[in-house]
Amino acid sequence: MKRREAIDKLTGREAYIDDIAIAGVWWGCTVRSAVPRGRIRDIRFGAEIDWSEFVVVDHRDLPGPNQVAMIENDQPVLASDRVRHIHEAVLLLAHPDRDRLREARRAIHIEIDEEPAIFDYRVPPPADTVQHGGDNVFKRVRIDKGDVDAALVAADHVVEGVYETGAQEHVYLENQGMVGYVEDGVVTVKGSMQCPYYIHAALRHALARADNEVRVIQAATGGGFGGKEDYPSVLALHAALLALKAERPVKILYDRDEDMAATTKRHPARVRHRTGVTSQGRIVAQDIEVLLDGGAYVTLSPVVLSRGVIHASGPYHCDNVRVEGRAVLTNAVPFGAFRGFGAPQTIFACERHMDVIADELGMCPLGLRRKNLIQDGQSTSTGQVIRDGTDRIEILDRAVRDAEFHQREAADRAFNSTHPYLRRATGIATFYHGAGFTGAGETYLDSRAQVVGLATGEVEIRTANVEMGQGALTTFVKIVAEKLAVEPDRIRVAEVDTFHVPNSGPTVASRTSMIVGRLLERGCDALCATLGGDWTGDKFERELLRWHAEHPGQELIAEVRYEPPPGVEWDDERYEGSAYGTFAWATYAAHVEVDLRTFGVRLLDFVAVQDVGTVLDEVLAAGQVQGGVVQGVGWALMEECQFVDGAMANHNLTNYSIPSSDDVPPVRVVFYETPYAHGAQGAKGIGELPMDGAAPAIVNAVARATGARPAVVPLTPEVLMRVMGSA
């Protein structure tokens, strides 16, 4: 099926928030802290500006608690007396003219008495930098399976490694933007977002309003990747506060520099591995420590940590696993959700470590993986027994075949021995990604979706899940059209507007197709049940029209609620049980060429083999994989957030490089389709998985090409030079 909105997007007709003309709208902007930590002493308004032209909002204008409602409500909407990071929002301004607004922003001086700050998440905080609990730890989680200490003692070999991954900026091509306005007493925000009901909750809380006094509407959203999961709650509050005070619509639109400077990024991480193995390469103990830099406020760090910890031991069976995870405070701009959500960090460490183990044992890295990959009936670190019928060995072997691993190894060896400065090799990574919210998360979300039979004979889908590029709109239509055997053009998708759509949960965690899609299938069943039979096609439409003829003026709404699949149990205290309803499995292979003159790495070929359950749409699914892989290529090789006092110094696209078309080869995508009984049409999640595999496959390839042991991403040429110098 063709993407529903493709032509509108390709021709520029799709209306993103800055494309929508709004009568009487003023521009809003944010005045931010220039220091990482301190007490606000004074705010001076420059005399060169006529401030009577401006609306100025500060923390005193909040009708409710000065808190951005999230996991813990520790982040203020606007700083009142103290700041905890550079770029923390202190004041908001609005004016009809954008240039005047910029001048005014420059004329405000926030004077702050600086206090000691901490920027290195890897060191214990000095006492005068403790700002959360007694030790700056936002969250600890621990997995304990078997007896790790005994198994380490008994192991033939113990292999250790420390791996670090850097922050990553989302670079959604559409910057964050939000319009706030008050309509019939209802505070409304409209803009670019992934999670309308998160914003709804944040508005209710800080504006002290009832459910029906706030309204959130999604505008076309130009990419998210997690960057529009948590941050838009902050931006929406800012737009709403300005609109309330200005008594007119106010639009805040970040430019790229502000967006990169002030919004969240992927959590930097350090992961230590201590692994016990037998001489034959059987992994008998995994002792893992995961440490995340959370930045200045809690935001989503606890759940990012949770996913990272659960994925840390990899798709391997081991009877003795201990994973200790911590997310800690630093005075950096808060880190937040980013595609993969903690898993890319720990999977990089695990998969890089697998190659190091193979090296130490003198084994082939493929053989080591084959020997340890989880088989049906075996369990993950949390004790979740896998019995999904996926042939994980075949996925690995397919990647090896398609990447011509062995043939290339021979050819590369010959090439490397003669070429003066180019070195080639293939690297692989095997991994998995849990789909949907972690643990009992989906049950807690209690998602609802509606399938509505319209009086025109058409069907309307009502969910809070957004199209942000991933193809949710098209996929939802396809799921319902195929379920009811009606033409896709007979299906409408309701605008994502909290006044009209139920809370089907956030558009995150690779959950939309699998979980919300499944809700829609059940919604179709419920709709048909009301119509008295398993109708499809023309019959369905006739029955629908008949119902409306018999019930004039009434709405036919079938609403369904999430029900956990049977047998899914999770113990959040002990971190035991079914961490996810299901996992997607993959092996990626990267063929690289390292230039020993420049230490630059060029990707020559990339093969991505995965089982994501039933593929709902070949073009959309391949697009998710190719895009995710290239985002991973950027993280692996060039995307380096350079922090100075906890703020990104290279916050523009000139100095923060993402891959262009010229930097990547075609990504060759292969799907295996082992259906998952509880996902729409048998689908599992797909969105995040592709982000996990590129970095370890590439860095493993670089290691094989050079003989060095890089343990860091981004592996920039400067870093590789250092690694090779010490190799």
């Binding site: 420059r106 430019d255 003159r597 230490f599 523009n652 490089s657 040429p717 400067e718």
Partner: protein, 278 residues
């Protein structure tokens, strides 16, 4: 902000001599980045050259290729004759930004923007180009080699305008250009080097390793000596480091490190010399 829109070159010269603070602008690809937030640039007076047809030409004389001040990278990229005679100009131009920037960015603008990372300048230096400056008082030719004085300082008086870049037509036995950036296109150079060899004369110019794009005389002497079998044969990149250290002074900045720049410059040159059988 004020924009001056001269109709002729004579107008432009007059406007420049009337106000020493005027900034001439051609394609604007450097000047207009981050425009809405750039208060300093917005308070400047600009002299817009885009309407001056006199500056648009690219022409050949018997002894020179002459790039008018409005010659863009794209003009060069698409010119088969330039590709045949001065291939490094094309190679360098193709690595400036991407097609959108190549269509707007000018060689002359690249020279006077005076960025140490300027991508067009090393090849011009290696091809021994001369900058022609025009003013009400007449024409002055300055070898590009002598044009830069220090970081963003150059031998252009405020009343002068670069009108032409003149490149002598010579036979080169060899010409290389290598740009190293964070990615293949749309990249700001971390270290770049252009080399030409004409007879026994080596010209080596590097960017992003000093306050200005610069010739590397010690390297030139060293390479010429090695090539002429008068020096020690090269055994490793580090043989080149003393010469590099006497020619350039790379720094750590947001785009790379001094150590990387120095090492990579040595390695690129070493392998280029090796490839050439030197």
């Amino acid at each position: 902000m004020t924009i001056l829109l001269p109709g002729t070159l004579t107008d432009a010269y007059r406007m420049l001599s009337d106000d020493p603070d005027v900034t001439p602008v051609a394609g604007g690809t450097d000047l207009f980045a981050h425009w809405p937030e750039n208060r300093v640039k917005q308070s400047t007076t600009y002299l817009d050259l885009s309407g001056l047809a006199e500056l648009r030409s690219m022409r050949w004389t018997k002894s020179e290729l002459v790039l008018g001040a409005l010659t863009t990278y794209w003009d060069v990229v698409t010119d088969a004759r330039v590709a045949a005679e001065f291939p490094n100009l094309v190679t360098a131009a193709r690595q400036v930004g991407a097609v959108q920037i190549q269509a707007r960015g000018t060689w002359a603008g690249n020279i006077v923007n005076a960025s140490p990372a300027a991508d067009g300048v090393p090849v011009l230096l290696a091809y021994d180009a001369t900058v022609r400056l025009g003013s009400r008082d007449g024409v002055e030719d300055i070898p590009l080699d002598e044009f830069y004085l220090d970081y963003k300082k150059m031998r252009r008086r405020p009343d002068q305008l670069v009108t032409e870049i003149r490149i002598p037509r010579r036979t080169y036995q060899r010409a290389w250009f290598e740009k190293v950036g964070p990615r293949k296109s749309q990249a700001i150079t971390k270290v770049g080097v252009a080399v030409t060899v004409a007879g026994e004369t080596w010209r080596i110019a590097a960017n992003s390793v000093a306050p200005t794009v610069c010739r590397c005389p010690a390297l030139e002497r060293y390479c010429a000596a090695v090539a002429g079998a008068k020096g020690q044969p090269l055994t490793s990149p580090s043989d080149l480091l003393p010469a590099i250290r006497s020619d350039v002074s790379p720094i750590d900045d947001i785009r790379s490190t001094a150590e990387y720049r120095e090492q990579v410059l040595a390695r690129i040159l070493f392998h280029a010399l090796n490839d050439a059988g030197v």
